[in-house]
Amino acid sequence: GAGVSQSPSNKVTEKGKDVELRCDPISGHTALYWYRQSLGQGLEFLIYFQGNSAPDKSGLPSDRFSAERTGGSVSTLTIQRTQQEDSAVYLCASSPTRLAGGPSYEQYFGPGTRLTVT
């Protein structure tokens, strides 16, 4: 079946503009994660959605970053008033339903959106 998709694949924006990045998870996956990867670096957790529960926003670096997930499926990551340090690849991952009290399941990643702020 189809994997995780993200759009756009590349985005160039001017400093101070707002951007929206989209993630379509694998159908039926209830968990969705956003990460950021700066050039040559590891992955930095941003936000986690699980079903209809309140999201874990503990990784968002500032209040300029926000995310929503509509209908438990598609997610949008919004960065307001972009700064040059926001330039990075933004990666989305989804994983299947986690059984109550059971182990977490494996994540599947999308191809990412490369954001360049000029």
Partner: protein, 109 residues
């Protein structure tokens, strides 16, 4: 929070050689995954292995949860194995995954 270390940070091999990559973590985990990030940036699942041993072709992995480490073995390496290998863990308390810094592998023809 949980800390993840990977070693070595960089590894250069001749095609056909074998290698072992290591992931150490600071606390008990209920989820551990190995990923390969190819030169185009795509993260590819290799193993979901919170404990035990798994094999998939030339790759195998072992996690010793009680001693807080995991190993990824690559045998008969090929140039297409080049890229960065990450391990990622989640403990029983947090909701987010913590990634290690990665091992950058270069396989030379």
């Amino acid at each position: 929070g949980i800390q993840v270390e990977q070693s070595p940070p960089d590894l250069i091999l001749q095609e056909g050689a074998n290698s072992t990559l290591r992931c150490n973590f600071s606390d008990s985990v209920n989820n551990l995954q190995w990923f390969h990030q190819n030169p185009w940036g795509q993260l590819i699942n290799l193993f979901y292995i919170p404990s035990g041993t798994k094999q998939n072709g030339r790759l195998s992995a072992t996690t010793v949860a009680t001693e807080r480490y995991s190993l990824l073995y690559i045998s008969s390496s090929q140039t297409t194995d080049s890229g960065v290998y990450f391990c990622a863990v989640k403990d029983g308390y947090g909701q987010n995954f913590v990634f290690g810094p990665g091992t950058r592998l270069s396989v030379l023809p």
